[in-house]
Subunit: 398 residues, 2 copies
């Protein structure tokens, strides 16, 4: 049965008049979220207290929810577990990946990777020692830079600025042929487009849930470890919930079974409840339908903006298959323009130095929203509404 | 004005008939928690969406809430920030502490430290290289083991099993005299007793909030860095929210100002809201009153159990000043006995191999609770109610 997008849209609560094209930064609130979290607070925490860890399933939840995420990213059951933040999961995946290629010292990434991934890699290299190196090339030079010196290829599949999408299958194949291991960041992929981790032969993957997966601010991250690697992975962040027997309180660490060893500390039970409310909506969606509709919406948006706002130049790939679920445009006054667009109730965001970014999520955005967004953006551009001092002050970017 | 404990107690919701002596594992639910979190979900996430980061103060919250915690642990304003889990914060503090003593390779801890702290240290040593060593001695041997080989003294102030409390001021002094740096875990201290980080000259401290601080399952951890060290600390977990300018999206990491650099990824906004509901209660308590009453309650409990249950032998220090806010007893059949006690509605917990553990929190436990708990435990012991097969099955300890 095809996905019923009108029904999905009705399960989100969005402010009247707002066209929210920033679900790629923070997804909107499922209507069921507040009640679901309140239930966890009063009926689980309040009523069960410490017994909630077993009786309410909090202890098993990170792997159980991981399996729900696995279905959206083409991963095997038992290969995904929730916890921590994406930055921590990047560190964890990268440390384990490097250990699998002990004779090499180079992490290859690209300048389109999200900065936190690069920063975490930098911190890990510093901890490992002076011969470890992070090498970041331009996105289009990645394939050519994969050689026998590379230990780990670490990439975000979809560029957070332009929406350009790497070819996961091809790059994973090149990395493996060169003897390297892959770490894929799915921040802008999970819930945005079909991902095929198992089919691509990916080794490690990580992602967050507060973007396209709509888990709310601070929702937990996830980590994927290919089943073929799980028994050999020895976590650098060896926390007690990744121990083979956390409640034996051994003095020495023994990694837990399979993906459980990638757990670290106490899982964020309240955030997990909000995520589950969102995944209930995802259970009603077919990611192939979502992808097809997302491409339609973005094609429509790009055509409208290019026709009516010629000073905005397209930064995203024109071919829908080559991009994630966002449209990006460049303009030297991008920051001020985005503030003016937001003032018109179309919420996108700005990414330095000159990118205007608009995310499209068919779960709650439809053709009428796209047309209205084009109208309002055109109104801003035709009347130069952005050319005001109040839109040019960049309070947060220091 | 003295703390009004009856008023504090009325602000918690506890199941009828339950005497909850496990707040040292998971604190109970403040009555205001569900409404506070629901408000964050609907009025902040739902209504503000991405703008919540600035307009609802989510971005500033980890340091603002850190300041509220600082008051409870004798820390300077601007020295505490929230985020991640305690295990992650241990790793982070330890990595920074080791870097401050580059010529040394030994972490000194004790066998009474919480296992996750030891596991995280083990993982960090493995990442740093084969000459890094974690040395764990018996708790009473710590002072004698501090010498000029020790880089970092890492201890949990209050032993999670016995409740024995280390002398933070004395051990910090010994460590400094030997040229070592200290990392104190306050998991069983924060909200349990007065802590004087600044007065003790502590270097780093970490702690969780879901125990005595009642933030709920998976509540965020905190980290303290002494102001004198902050400018020199270079985080190993160098995430984007610890960057000097997260929204500049630089490719290279530059640590943020002061304690902000110890942030890593996106903070758990929903868990933070629950924590704030609990801190509103803490604002009405004087930690000195809490400590005095906690000692009274535990003295009363120990006297009653020793008088009426002679087969339970005291494992906690008899002197209230030498222990945290818990009473512990030993019995070879401790596991089964605790299950039987729980079946009587007195909730404590068991810690391998033979410890029965009872936490006392004057915020919601009073003298009547203590007396009733003694009665019920005596009933279990006098009638050997624990000697049943269903209480001897240890499903979770494998």
């Amino acid at each position: 049965m095809p996905t019923d997008f009108a029904s999905l849209r009705a399960q989100f609560d969005l402010p009247d008049g707002m066209i929210y094209l920033d679900g790629n930064s923070l997804g909107p609130m499922p209507r069921a979220a507040a009640a679901r979290v309140a239930q966890t607070i009063t009926q689980e925490w309040g009523a069960l207290l410490i017994a909630g860890w077993n009786k309410a399933g909090w202890m098993a939840q990170p792997a159980a929810v991981g399996d729900r995420i696995a279905r959206l990213i083409g991963a095997e059951a038992g290969s995904v577990v929730m916890g921590d933040t994406l930055s921590i999961k990047v560190y964890q995946a990268l440390a384990s990946a490097l250990e699998m290629v002990p004779a090499r010292r180079v992490i290859l990434s690209d300048s389109g990777n999200f900065p936190s991934d690069l920063y975490m890699a930098e911190g890990l290299c510093r901890t490992l020692g002076p011969d470890y190196v992070l090498k970041a090339v331009a996105p289009e030079e990645v394939a050519g830079a994969i050689d026998h010196t590379i230990a780990v290829l670490m990439l975000t599949e979809v560029d957070y600025r332009t929406g350009r999408k790497h070819d996961m299958a091809a790059l994973t194949g090149l990395a493996h042929a060169a003897g390297a291991v892959t770490v894929w960041d799915l921040a802008h992929s999970a819930g945005a487009l079909p991902v095929h981790l198992a089919a691509c032969g990916a080794d490690f993957a990580v992602g967050c849930t507060y973007k396209y997966l709509n888990s709310g601010p601070g929702g937990p991250a996830f980590i994927y470890v290919a089943p073929r690697h799980q028994a050999a992975v020895r976590p650098a962040l060896s926390g007690w919930l990744g121990h083979a027997a956390p409640f034996a309180f051994d003095l020495d660490y023994r990694p837990g079974d399979g993906i459980e060893r990638m757990r670290v500390g106490t899982p964020p039970v309240l955030q997990m409840a909000a995520l589950e409310a969102s995944l209930d909506i995802w259970d009603q969606a077919d990611i192939l339908d979502v992808r097809a509709k997302s491409i339609e919406l973005i094609d429509r948006f790009i055509a409208g903006i290019e026709a009516r706002c010629p000073s905005l130049s397209l930064a995203a790939p024109r071919d829908g298959q080559q991009r994630g679920s966002q449209a990006s445009f460049r303009h030297p006054e991008g920051y001020a323009i985005m503030q003016a667009i937001i003032a018109q109730g179309v919420i996108g965001d700005f990414r330095a130095p000159d990118i205007l970014r608009f995310g499209f999520t068919p779960l709650f955005i439809n053709e009428d929203d796209v047309d209205e967004a084009i109208n309002r953006i055109t109104h801003v551009m035709e009347n130069a509404l952005w050319d005001r001092p109040e839109f040019k002050t960049r309070a947060r970017v220091t």
